[in-house]
Each structure stands twice: as structure tokens, then as C-alpha cells.
Subunit: 196 residues, 2 copies
DNA sequence: CACACTCTAAACCGATCGGTTTCCAAACAC
DNA sequence: GTGTTTGGAAACCGATCGGTTTAGAGTGTG
């Protein structure tokens, strides 16, 4: 295992997984047991369970983002780069370990928008919208702000569908995004922001 | 209050509200206290808390649906009837008592798709898709099934946005649905399934 | 060696969890 | 009147909640 990782790393890893899989209401005893860390250590490293929720969400955030967004070096078109996000979501949702977007799920479970975990969730959702927006600007669409918001909503709606139906998406998210890009004039053939 | 309602009705009402506002992890003690019903009565009326979750969700379902969907007698066009759903969602999300679609929230919190509450959630989400589909058929769109699914995802994505951002939607959901209808050729002027 | 530091294991705290039981008052039957 | 039923108040059950504390093993450093 990762027994040689520091207690903090083990806690953040276990928390990221268990809060996602079982919900934020899982007990700290089970959490510490899974992480192989004593409660004393946990409460030395984190002020409270709420803080651990927020920090673990912030720690899984970048990797979740990296799992969705294509790397900067990928020379694909904006359309392809945007659709790649929905294709990766399609893959994630097809697994039986999918419980929705961790940021949305956490915000939904916490209910309180001022909870530190909700603040982290808000931040990472904005980053996805920002990614869409920058690609849409490169594609030269008319209203990249509105379109980026709509793509984010399509993304979260697809997530919700996979959770509620407990089924794979089978491309419905990808096709929805593709239809939206079609309607906005972001064709497959055209290159990023360039004529011909 | 509704003290003259039966204990069952009081329980379902209180459960529908508290499970939504505080999450399904709220305790049965708090629930019974809010309903003015003893735990003994509750466990005579419902086999378990899980069953109460499912039955209360099923009991609020129709009213939530009725709050969103226009009545059958409303002589509006399919486009207007579909957009009316998003406009009512916009109103709901503007209130400070909005915590997302109760069906999606419950499914997300329960995690287990076989939980009776998850089954109820699945059922009511399908009914919204069915409503969209029947309107799209009336509007004569090419692929009403796919479009109904996409509108449902737009709806749930808008819900997620309102929750994560803890803000009103300010029409972003309505505009997204309108854009989708535009792209599908469901114009404001045309009447239901009739050539001019 | 002694000392300091970090860490786990586990007991402990009061509160609450889902669920059961006892007791008793009010409402009903006849 | 005497039953019977309904249902609320509250005690009770073992388990778990978030959080604190004690004890002691392990790992340095000097």
C-alpha cells in the first residue's frame, strides 16, 4: 500500500475516496481506520472533520481535473478538446465506482454553501467552465461565456443522469455537447481560431 | 398547523421537507419531533427510515412535478410549455430554500441505486423526460427521445449550477433550453405539429 | 544513556444514531 | 359503565457520532 506516505497524505487519499464513495457523513473513525492513522493524528493535522472534507476535496480536485481535461500540448481542435472532456466523463460514468461529479455531490450533501467544502467545490466547477471558455474563445464562438456555462451544465446534467439512472451514459453527454457545438458553429473541420 | 392531519400525513410532510432541506441523514428523532408524531407511531406506519425516505419522496413528487409542468389545459405551444418548466425552475432556484432537484439530491445522497428512495427518484426523473418527449413529439422534432434526454440533462445541470454556486440562475437554464429548441427547429411562432 | 518528537491504539466524553419498549391519556366502541 | 384502539411522551437498547485524552511504542538526536 501507500504505508510509506505521510499520515497527512494517507488521510487525504482515504478521505478523498471515502467521502466520495460513502458521502461526507461517513464517520471519522472509519476514515482514520481506512487511512491507518489515529484520530489524534488526524485532529493534529486538521482542525475538524469539516476542514478535512474541504482539504481532501481540494487535493483530489487537480487529479480529477487532469482526468477530464486534455493536456495543453494536445494539438487537437477546440471542438475535439471540449468533446474529450465529455468522452472521459462517459468512461468514468461507465464504471461501477461512479457517484457523480465529486464537487457537485459534495456541495449537494453539505447543503451549506458557506461550508469550506462547498467553497472548494465552487472553485473547481468554475475551473471547468474556464477551460470550456478558453477553448470556445479559440474556436471563435459568438458568446463564449454563455456557451461555457451551458457546456458545464450539460456536463453536470449528464453526471446527474448517470447517478439517478445508475447506468452508463452511452454517449448521450458527448452527443449533447456535440449538438451544442454544432449549433454554435464549432465544426469538426475548422482549426483553432484560424481561417482554413 | 396541520395538527388535524393524520400522523401519516404529518410525517410525510415533515419528512419531505426535512429530508430535502437537511439531507437524508437527519435523525428520526428530529423528524418525529417536527411532525408531532411519536417514534412508536412512525415505526408502526413505516417499516424503517429508508421506507419513509422513499414514501415521502414519492409523496412530494407529484406536487414538485405540478409546480414545474404546465397544466394539460394550457393551450401554449410545445416550446412555451417546455420553457415554462425552466422558467419555474428559475423561480425555485432564486429562493433561498433551494437545494437542487429533490430526486437528484436524494439519489446522490443515498449512493445506493437499489435503495427504495433511489428507485422513486429514478421514476420521477423519467416522468420529466416523458413530459419533454411528448411536447417534442407534438412539435414534430426529428429525434424527440434524444432531445428529451438532453433537455432533462440541461434541467439537472442548471439545478447543479444553482446549488454549487448558491446563486439564482438568472435565466441561464431558460436560455440554454431555448437555444436547444432553436437548434432543433422548435421556433416560437410555430404551432404544435401543424404547418402554420 | 537520556531526551524529544511522532505516531498508533484505545479509552473516554456527551450527544445522537435507528429502532424497541413501556406507560398512560384520550377517543372510540358496546 | 367496560373494553379496545390509537397515539404521544419518554425511557431504553447497542452502536456510532465528532472530538479529546491517556498510554506507550518507535525513531530519532544529543
Amino acid at each position: 500500500m501507500n504505508s510509506q506516505a505521510t499520515p497527512r497524505e494517507r488521510l487525504l487519499d482515504a478521505a478523498g475516496e471515502l467521502f466520495y464513495r460513502d458521502g461526507v457523513n461517513i464517520g471519522v473513525d472509519a476514515l482514520c481506520k481506512a487511512a491507518g492513522v489515529s484520530k489524534k493524528s488526524m485532529y493534529q493535522l486538521f482542525r475538524s472533520k469539516d476542514e478535512l472534507i474541504a482539504e481532501s476535496l481540494a487535493s483530489v480536485g487537480p487529479s480529477y481535473q487532469q482526468a477530464l481535461e486534455p493536456g495543453v500540448e494536445d494539438g487537437a481542435t477546440p471542438r475535439e478538446r471540449i468533446l474529450a472532456v465529455f468522452e472521459k466523463q462517459d468512461l468514468l460514468a461507465a464504471g461501477n465506482e461512479f457517484f457523480g461529479c465529486p464537487f457537485v455531490s459534495t456541495a449537494v450533501e453539505l447543503k451549506n454553501p458557506e461550508h469550506p467544502g462547498s467553497v472548494v467545490a465552487r472553485h473547481f466547477k468554475q475551473r471547468l467552465t474556464d477551460f470550456f471558455r478558453s477553448e470556445l474563445v479559440a474556436a471563435g464562438v459568438d458568446d463564449p461565456d454563455a456557451m461555457a456555462i451551458q457546456l458545464t451544465m450539460a456536463f453536470d446534467g449528464a453526471s446527474a443522469r448517470a447517478v439517478v439512472r445508475a447506468q452508463a451514459l452511452n454517449g448521450v453527454g458527448v452527443r449533447m455537447a456535440a449538438a451544442m457545438l454544432d449549433a454554435a458553429g464549432v465544426r469538426a473541420a475548422e482549426l483553432a481560431g484560424q481561417a482554413r
